[in-house]
């Protein structure tokens, strides 16, 4: 009986748990509740993925109101995959959060943190699972607003201004998406995505639909931090609490990318987006700019969290590049990188959180010689770095391979060259950190001397994500298989 209602439970559980945290008030109880709920959410997401892979798309009508008048949750290969990514990162980060949040946020506000965390999780899962366009907007705003709060809880006072800037830019983005959805509603009279998919293509020449597409693309690009609309990301990731950075790095922008993919491929159709409209030129160009400019800026950062934030912007460029090829290989490369990047960046940010806990800073100057005193944490960082660079036997290598293959498949060898060149930039900015951590002498301060290894509750989740990098770099049939099926489904070809 429960099985039939899993899609609803996916949203309802975190949603109800959020105000419960406020009622509970106690930091430990709130954490325990969040832990249980996030693990339950992961279990549900995996169950849904298994169901979809076995039996095809699931349609769930909320309150038994029939689509397209009622809101339906529609789960196919693509969003089942992304559901698992979001839920998995949410679940892995929770055990870690206990020690990290205690250290970075004042005791009296921790229960509020977990409340916001659950709301963000609800919002993100909701965006992915729903089959109604306006519902996407609602969940988008739920997740965004709670994200702004999460970011603002960072210790540094600049977290506040970062959250404010994120709020302004994020709201503009979301409002653009709202305009786009409104225009689509005006043109077709429906808000259900599957229904839109039938009604929009015949209207492809109308200005309303063209304008809608434009607004939606720009709005989602703001939310997913596509160059040059990425301004909010470095500050938000750098000053947010470590747990939040790790959680967001693997989820927030990916979900916005999912929105873009859903609208481009399901609603409007690839031939419209890439044939009629010049997205096949604009997206790759912006993606390449993101890859190079962001990687170059990353090289000069002294704050390592900031450096990883810029690195994320570059990695988002890779995903967009893959998607913009509009071939099965390309889109599956983009989808696969969503997964692999969540593993990589999640692990790296978790490792940095361990450093923040013990050292109180993530400036490269303060981290000198850390390899000796925090060997396990820094080993995790090295493996994450190797994955980011794309060394074989890591997940990052598989993504790179597929991206290069997709570029060659389209006959655009210059993109292949650009992809590998920007990977080399990653070598530079990651190796800077590794050199400082292993080869430079420890600074002569009492704080530096007192540093010891991070607690197990933080090391275990970190190594779980980092180990997953290696696992999914060797045993790729699972992740790659799902990505390919999802891509084939999006493009309307048989896999």
């Amino acid at each position: 009986m429960i099985e039939a209602h899993l899609p609803a439970l996916q949203i309802v559980l975190p949603l109800l748990a959020a105000p419960l945290c406020v009622v509970l008030r106690d930091a430990r109880a709130a954490w325990a509740l969040t832990l249980l709920v996030s693990w339950a959410a992961l279990a549900i997401a995996i169950a849904l993925l298994v169901k979809v892979l076995a039996g095809g798309p699931i349609a769930y009508e909320l309150g038994n109101w029939l689509a397209p008048w009622g809101i339906e949750y529609r789960i196919d290969g693509v969003n089942a995959f992304i559901l698992v990514v979001v839920a998995a990162i949410g679940a892995v980060v929770m055990p870690y959060a206990y020690a990290s949040v205690k250290a970075e946020i004042e005791e009296g506000r921790i229960y509020l943190f977990y409340c916001m965390y659950l709301l963000t999780l609800t919002g993100l899962l909701g965006i992915v699972i729903t089959g109604d366009a306006f519902n996407i907007f609602v969940f988008l705003e739920i997740s965004s607003l709670s994200t702004y709060v999460l970011v603002s809880l960072g210790k540094d006072r600049r977290a506040m201004t970062a959250a404010y800037q994120y709020l302004i830019m994020g709201t503009i983005g979301a409002t653009f998406i709202l305009i786009g959805i409104g225009l689509l509603y005006m043109a077709t009279g429906t808000l259900n995505i599957a229904d839109l998919a039938k009604r929009v293509p015949p209207l492809a020449e109308s200005r309303t639909v063209l304008a809608a597409f434009g607004f939606i693309t720009v709005g989602t690009s703001l939310k997913l931090a596509l160059f040059p609309l990425h301004q909010w990301l470095p500050n938000a990731y750098a000053y947010a609490p470590s747990t939040v950075s790790a959680f967001l790095a693997g989820t927030a922008t990916k979900v916005s990318l999912y929105i873009l993919i859903r609208f481009i491929f399901t609603v409007f159709g690839a031939s419209f987006a890439f044939g009629r409209l010049p997205l096949d030129i604009i997206l790759p160009v912006l993606a390449v700019l993101a890859m190079f400019v962001a990687s170059t800026v990353a090289i000069f950062q002294r704050d390592i969290k900031r450096m990883l934030a810029y690195s994320s912007i570059a990695q988002i460029g890779y995903m967009i590049l893959g998607v913009s090829f509009a071939t099965v290989t390309g889109v599956s490369a983009g989808l696969l990188h969503i997964f692999n990047h969540a593993l990589m960046k999640g692990g790296l940010f978790l490792a940095l959180g361990c450093v923040m806990l013990r050292l109180g800073s993530v400036q490269i100057a303060d981290m000198q010689g850390l390899g000796r005193r925090m060997p396990v944490t820094m080993a995790a960082f090295v493996v994450g770095a190797l994955s980011l660079i794309g060394i074989p036997l890591t997940a990052g290598f598989i993504s790179k391979w597929y991206l290069v293959l997709a570029a060659l498949d389209k006959g655009q060898w210059y993109f292949a060259a650009l992809i590998v060149l920007s990977s080399l930039l990653a070598v530079i900015y990651m190796w800077r950190v590794i050199e400082a951590v292993y080869f430079r002498p420890t600074p002569n301060t009492a704080a530096a001397e007192a540093v010891r290894e991070a607690p197990l509750s933080m090391l275990a989740p970190t190594w779980l994500l980092i180990g997953a990098n290696i696992y999914f770099g060797i045993e790729t049939s699972g992740s790659l298989g799902v990505a390919r099926r999802a891509a084939a489904m999006l493009l309307g070809v048989t896999p």
Binding site: F134, F137, V138, E141, L145, Y148, V149, S152, R157, R158, M160, T161, A163, Y164, L167, I168, T171, I172, T175, L178, I179, G182, Y185, M186
Partner: protein
């Protein structure tokens, strides 16, 4: 459509565009944090007007079961916008809360002064 119809007939869209651009401009151009939020609100309101104004059906009235009313205006956009208004209000509330804390922390809510305080410390 001839010229007059295009301007006068579509007046709701013109108002929407005007408000949207005005709001957007205020967000980008102001230095004062509260003014930015005001601009954001204007921007969002224009979108609300867009949705609601397209729901009106000529000769239609509120969707109430009554013998006197035969045509209904589309109630769906109203419902959607109620949700969006709530979202908008939450956004403003959150934004203002941030501004209050920023004022406590920095002593100012002018963007350039805040940046000046942050930059040398970087």
């Amino acid at each position: 459509m001839d010229f007059a119809e295009r301007i006068v007939g579509l007046y709701n869209y013109w108002i929407v565009i005007l408000l949207m651009m005005a709001g957007f401009y205020v967000v980008i151009a102001s230095r004062n944090l509260i003014k930015k939020i005001v601009g954001l609100t204007i921007f969002q309101t224009s979108v609300f007007l867009l949705y609601i104004s397209i729901g009106k059906v000529r000769g239609g009235s509120a969707p109430i079961l009554d013998k006197a009313i035969e045509t209904y205006s589309n109630p769906l956009p109203h419902v959607l916008i109620l949700t969006a208004i709530v979202v908008g209000v939450s956004t403003v509330a959150l934004g203002l809360a941030f501004v209050v804390r920023i004022k406590e922390s920095y002593g100012t809510i002018e963007e350039d002064e805040i940046r000046a305080q942050d930059e040398p410390g970087d």
